[in-house]
Symmetry: C2
Subunit: 186 residues, 2 copies
């Protein structure tokens, strides 16, 4: 079991092409043939290395949100920091847009998305919201606003949402997220 195989470059190329295709086309329209063409490789290699299309998608959709530790931050800025972080992460590449697109079209994609948010956003909220038992609900509220902005801005591309600057978005959404995290339940 060698630590690095000759085929690692090929595997990586496939994975990168797969991420881009899934991101821009969604699960159904991202064909194995197109991915293979992008990676300059035969479609059958994709099958060999990832078993089938679902396996390829599973491998291509391991995503790190890379959320910061919020514990050390001034409590009243958490919302803005979180919104800013997500916006930056969203604009860095198309991975999250793709995740969103696939999460909507594909059952496995939706499950993957549930897991990502539960595992990575859940703990963050647990540390800052008043009643830890309510953390999942707070996380869902935060997710609804952040994913909603991502949806309107990066996927549906409603013009006013596209035209806003990231600073403006942070200024508008920051207080919302802040409230979802730290306010008493209404």
């Amino acid at each position: 079991m060698p630590t690095s195989r000759r085929s690692d470059a090929t595997r990586a190329a496939i994975l990168e092409a797969a991420r881009e295709r899934f991101a821009s086309d969604g699960y159904e329209r991202a064909t194995i043939r197109a991915i293979a063409r992008d990676a300059d490789i035969d479609p059958s290699m994709v099958m060999r290395y990832y078993g089938n299309k679902e396996g390829l998608f599973a491998a291509a959709s391991e995503i790190e949100l890379g959320l910061p530790e919020l514990g050390s931050l001034p409590a009243q800025h958490i919302g803005a920091v979180l919104v800013g972080h997500f916006l930056e992460r969203w604009e860095r590449d198309e991975v999250l847009t793709g995740m969103l697109r696939v999460g909507v079209t594909n059952e496995a994609g939706a499950a993957r998305m549930q897991a990502i948010f539960a595992q990575q956003l859940g703990p963050v909220t647990r540390g800052v919201c008043p009643d830890p038992a309510e953390a999942p609900r707070r996380a869902a509220l935060v997710a609804s606003q952040i994913l909603g902005m991502a949806l309107t801005r990066y996927v549906l591309r409603l013009p006013p949402a596209v035209e806003m600057s990231t600073d403006e978005i942070v200024a508008w959404l920051g207080p919302t997220v802040q409230r979802y995290l730290t306010a008493e339940a209404p």
Copy 2:
């Protein structure tokens, strides 16, 4: 040009089946054959009456949000009323879920969604936000929160979002929408 044709029932059956399929499967996976099977009809009839798949989708996605007149309402309740109305509309049938699903996967779907919100949510905001020139931006913010909740609750089905009651959602999102509509720009 008769006012009613014998085939009107067929056309309606096709349209209804199409709406359901587009809603539950998205654009790509909703096949003409499956729609025809649901409507107990030959696939070629779909082509005859709607030209092609895009035409069928266009016909199936004419949607009325049916937003209420907000002008006569107490200004401080607008947010809650709007959120409640959308939730009710969303849970009544699967049409809006379908619109969302198709808007994400399909360019024409996204365009349709832009139009719906511009034409139906835009005027509402224009009447209530401080500076009418900012109405489109306010509408986009409102859309981001409302579509975000719909996304997490009805499409991705994040468990905490599903488990909340509509009253709880109104209580949480109402003030957010209210602020997006009526607060001074931050």
